[in-house]
Subunit: 371 residues, 2 copies
Amino acid sequence: AVRSLSTARNSLTVGLIPADGIGREVIPAARDAIVAVQQELPPLKFIDLLAGWDTFTRTGTALPSETVRALKDECDCALFGSVSSPSRKVAGYSSPIVALRKELDLYANIRPVRSVSADASTPPTTDLIVVRENTECLYVKDEKLVNTDNGKEARAIRLITERASTRIGKIAFELAKARPRKAGTGSNCCYFSDLLQLVTIIHKSNVLSVTDGLFRESVRAVPVAANGKFDDVTIEEQLVDSAVYRLFREPQIYDVMVAPNLYGDIISDAAAALVGSLGVIPSINAGDNFVMGEPVHGSAPDIAGKGIANPVASIRSAALMLRHLGYSSPADKIDKAVNDTLAPGKVLTADLGGSSSTSEVTKHIMGLIEA
Amino acid sequence: AVRSLSTARNSLTVGLIPADGIGREVIPAARDAIVAVQQELPPLKFIDLLAGWDTFTRTGTALPSETVRALKDECDCALFGSVSSPSRKVAGYSSPIVALRKELDLYANIRPVRSVSADASTPPTTDLIVVRENTECLYVKDEKLVNTDNGKEARAIRLITERASTRIGKIAFELAKARPRKAGTGSNCCYFSDLLQLVTIIHKSNVLSVTDGLFRESVRAVPVAANGKFDDVTIEEQLVDSAVYRLFREPQIYDVMVAPNLYGDIISDAAAALVGSLGVIPSINAGDNFVMGEPVHGSAPDIAGKGIANPVASIRSAALMLRHLGYSSPADKIDKAVNDTLAPGKVLTADLGGSSSTSEVTKHIMGLIEA
Ligand SMILES: CC(C)[C@H](C(=O)O)[C@@H](O)C(=O)O
Ligand SMILES: CC(C)[C@H](C(=O)O)[C@@H](O)C(=O)O
């Protein structure tokens, strides 16, 4: 499993890759949050790095080799903003975030989705983690186009390996085991009659019996091989179509959801819709040697440059990244300041129905951290 | 485009394939609905046909060749229930519904999703059609498993052709053109400032630039080649992850959504969650020579055999099938009886929060048709 990277450090170097669109407005807010808790961290260093569509149009590459080199040689971790991608194939362009996940072997995309309760005694209706395999499935981008007498035909390879499915399965079980036991609510809830920890495997093996069959079996083999370590974790399965349906109808039935890459992409957006806005959902891309925080939202070209993007997803991604590096106490401080900003519902960006700017929300959160 | 199959007929022969689980409880209800409007149809004949997991366990094949033969040689159309599929690969078993779609070249899976308004003056918040390509994408089921030194590796082919993307695109534009112009509501709605007809192409071409790029371009080429026929139809695009997110947040922005097979599978379940229950969503699998109605819900093993399954999806599928065959007036009668049952909210199955049985709901609908 991914080690949480809690080695003692003399310094903490954070790569900052705002990339495109609102990434440029929210990554600075995440940086501010890290700076605000610096007394609990080793001496900080930030390195600004380039990537994205804009970088591509200026330099001919969406992911300069210097960015990869600096991340590997100089950084302990990084924060990535968001990229604008062309919808047509553009010669030489390839998504830098997909490339970075592979290049740094950040095989686990971890996306906690939790609704904010107005008061502490009400449990959140949605409180789940999407654990998304981050290196294969259709994201291997092995595609071919041929011309035939009947017109063009395109084929893509969907790769699922036992190795990658097993390692992502381990992350899911580790996370489930570390979470508080959860009680379900609602009459339709068949899962949570007792308090439990749960891993739900998302697949479509009724159609993809070989690839999704391998994913499913590899994840199921994890607790079997773990000598009782995960005996307390219950395993469920759900077809991806039905998982999305049930996510809308009974989000409380999920705890940890583990999925191949593309399904994970879709269900994390679906889950985000349940808690108010994509603008509040953080993620980390984690590997055995590196971790990169990334807001789940995209580059949002419609609002980019207006100063109204929600900084919460990026700020929470910074906290998640710090937690993964072993710095729980500063991570808790950031998360608490965010929750104490969201719960009263007064200082909110437009995506949450408010009218505050990116910098007003950021300042409010920083004020609470420093209080 | 799919012809609506409105040839004059001396008789109408309907294949009935209840298959597994609640399919066996709801297909008889759909048959009853067709019988209830028989005075507006040619003389009816029903043929009971086998398929499914249960058929597989008894006969060794999930889709007997006699079923395919009878559909091709004797039937004008058919109704399919639902199948239970094993999640592991079982030698010799293969999903009969996926096979039938290919065998009969039922290339368009058409799934209208519409919320019921309590009174006629309120427009439904969700009123869209998912037009799903039904023959290719990962559903070609071309999968291979190899053993390597690093463990098992599985690969699946995702096939997208210009031909199939073009023909499904045509269906989408034809349907959009035939629909009433739609006005959007809600402040987030960027689409519907004017009344319009809209096709939204769902893809993930930021990752799958070749396969989804071909899908997208082929659909976009349809109006270009149509000599102005579709000039009134607006085209939008949405990445599949973001489409699911927006479907939850602003369903009113969608009119006709056209998607490759797997995305179509997922978004139609997502849309279903918006209108109360999968139990009310009908579909047809349509080709140039045949049409097969099919409720979107699955076999629901948890409630099968209890007599509480919602018959509405199947009854509506029968209406959709009749409409596609050119029988609009009997289709309207069935749809009206269904809506007049759902809107008052008194005779509902458990999935919609009621306590009526399958047969009580069916009888109520039949009573309204015959009234
Ligand atoms: C930008 C895109 C390539 C990316 C993905 O599909 O992984 C995004 O949607 C995400 O979820 O991080
Ligand atoms: C049963 C399954 C193979 C099928 C599909 O994935 O197409 C179902 O989910 C559907 O939507 O009709």
